[in-house]
Symmetry: C2
Subunit: 362 residues, 2 copies
């Protein structure tokens, strides 16, 4: 079910209401996920120009029909050359201070635009609109839940394949097929199925390694529904878990659970990272947790806020973030436990459905 066109108008109004605070008279957007969020257009290339009076979506010929049918009340402009097209539309409206996503626009595009636009100031917005999509509305949460539900069903349906002798990539292929059969329009990212020593690589690619008895198997995967991504990491042990496996799993699980207990509106994101990290550090494994504790997830698999030591973000009700502490011991194995979590006023709701108790497959 597509979003009610009124919702896009509301989002554009909300962005416009920030213009005076940002000291701009218009905004040029190039991030295709921002463009999708504000208009419904889901093509792979384009630009969006918003003044207080007008909204113009710029696309090349491949996307003209799609732009017209997937948006409402927006002017559609076709370009042959993207920079020329943007310069022409931007000149026409007479806006003088145009904000742009300086984390997205390339140095080349910026310098070409600057040359073409006389009497216009291009104002870098840096991280000032990076939270644009961070707070999800009820429809977005429905899609994120649906994506999480499809993921759960898909993994559950192939769980019996996870046995000694099978290759990692065969599990990944079957899981991705099931994700799509159960209704995912796409997979969130290339599925990670990492077994034994491969699980010590946080971003392993599934390969030809055959699962063995005693292996840890890490599966990090997700489904996309109406553009919204789920993200979840599940761990399995084949046969019996060793004491060391139990110890490290329990430690990561405690870091996960401790952080989860603190997740609610108003809590600084770096506090969540600190809780998970401190738990792991206290046991002497701090050096083996080399990544942030989590990230926002929605139209992008990684988006604001960031749950890291350096983050200045604060959790707000409606944000949806991952929680994914991990410990990776080179050449031995690794453990990551990841859920996707909806922040609420007085707590949080885990959207991912697979139990995070240690799963031993006999």
């Amino acid at each position: 079910m597509p979003l009610n066109p009124v919702e896009f108008s509301k989002r554009i109004c909300r962005l416009r209401s920030q213009f005076s605070g940002l000291e701009i008279t218009a905004i040029l957007l190039l991030d295709m996920k921002n463009i999708r969020y504000l208009t419904g257009f889901a093509g792979s290339d384009g630009a969006l120009y918003i003044t207080q009076k007008e909204v113009a979506l710029l696309v090349d010929g491949r996307y003209l029909t799609q732009a017209n049918t997937s948006t409402h009340g927006i002017k559609i402009c076709e370009y042959q050359d993207k920079v020329e097209g943007m310069a022409s539309v931007l000149s026409d409206t007479g806006s003088t201070i145009i904000g742009f996503e300086s984390q997205i626009m390339s140095v080349d595009t910026h310098s070409k635009l600057k040359k073409k636009l006389k009497g216009v100031t291009l104002k870098p917005l840096a991280d000032k609109i990076r939270l644009l999509r961070a707070i999800k509305d009820s429809q977005e949460v429905i899609w994120l839940k649906k994506a999480a539900e499809i993921s759960y069903r898909a993994l559950f349906s192939i769980e019996e394949m996870i046995r000694p002798g099978i290759e990692e990539r065969d599990i990944a292929v079957e899981l991705e097929t099931k994700l799509k059969k159960f209704g995912a329009e796409d997979i969130s990212f290339t599925t990670i199925v990492a077994s034994g020593p491969n699980s010590a690589l946080p971003h392993a690619k599934p390969g030809s390694r055959q699962l063995e008895k005693g292996d840890f198997v890490m599966i990090d995967y997700g489904a996309v529904v109406e553009g919204y991504h789920s993200d979840e990491t599940c761990m399995f042990v084949l046969g019996q878990a060793s004491d060391k496996q139990r110890k490290i799993y329990d430690l990561v699980k405690r870091a996960h659970d401790d952080a989860l207990c603190e997740m609610k509106a108003g809590v600084p994101c770096n506090r969540i990272d600190d809780i998970a990290r401190s738990c792991i550090e206290r046991s002497g494994f701090g050096a083996y947790f080399p990544h942030a504790t989590g990230h926002g997830v929605g139209l992008d698999i990684h988006e604001a806020p960031r749950l890291s030591k350096q983050s200045n973000d604060i959790l707000v009700a409606g944000m949806v973030v991952t929680l994914e502490p991990g410990i990776y011991i080179s050449d031995i194995w690794g453990v990551r436990i990841e859920d996707t979590v909806l922040i609420k006023e007085n707590g949080c709701e885990v959207l991912t459905e697979m139990s995070k108790d240690l799963r031993i497959l006999s």
Copy 2:
């Protein structure tokens, strides 16, 4: 089979030999495909810094092990914050004019780096190294052929599914599963299966439309092998083709074949576009061919050169490009015929294997 480490050294030497012509003393690369091409590191984030004496690969903690195991003779530096990490490595080497990919680096990263680097000039390379990966060596061609072969086998194996009553997305799921089962490490892009009026959208997403007798069915798909992408579009008609369908198909096929005949080293890319486009324009369908005639393909699905009206590129032996003229008639249907082609000194070799004669499935 991974590439011999000597090949990476050769590529880096070739890039270094351009330093004086580019008037730089070092280069900072952020394009992950360029980084993979030059080092073998295939992670999703990082930076590569090359001086005449040194090569440093910068990665975050997630990729430390992978960076160490997948590269040879390269210094690996871990960063917490990417810009800080780059600034620190760039300062250490004392290089004064550092080239960068200005089509890739964001305005934000550039301005932060500039602030941190005193006495250093950051020189935008614009399109000066955009042909870095354009000419493929024999090993790259082997992988591109393998990807094309897997694609062919996968589509051939599911051809009998393409019948009235089946949904587009079911074909796409089955095709993607087969691509992976036959050895693709990934799919080149979200498979397009567009039937009937959906085929009039050059970049349609497979949906729940059920195929009908008389439909055109457009399948645009590909496999990835060792990072190298195949790209091919095949058309099918269900049942009997109408005169109009035959006429338009034959016209696109003629545009494709005429252009193919001219493809060889030394020919300007805009000439190839012109041949295909003129053929379609002469029959009065110019307005229905809204995209370029082709693009380079390799580690990226779209890379240099570009076969378009505006292109200044010249075909060189070893380049691998798509050839994909199309005609799209809104709300009715569309036709695209696409092969991937290896340029040779005196001609070319089509790498994609499916016959491009009109395929009528009865």
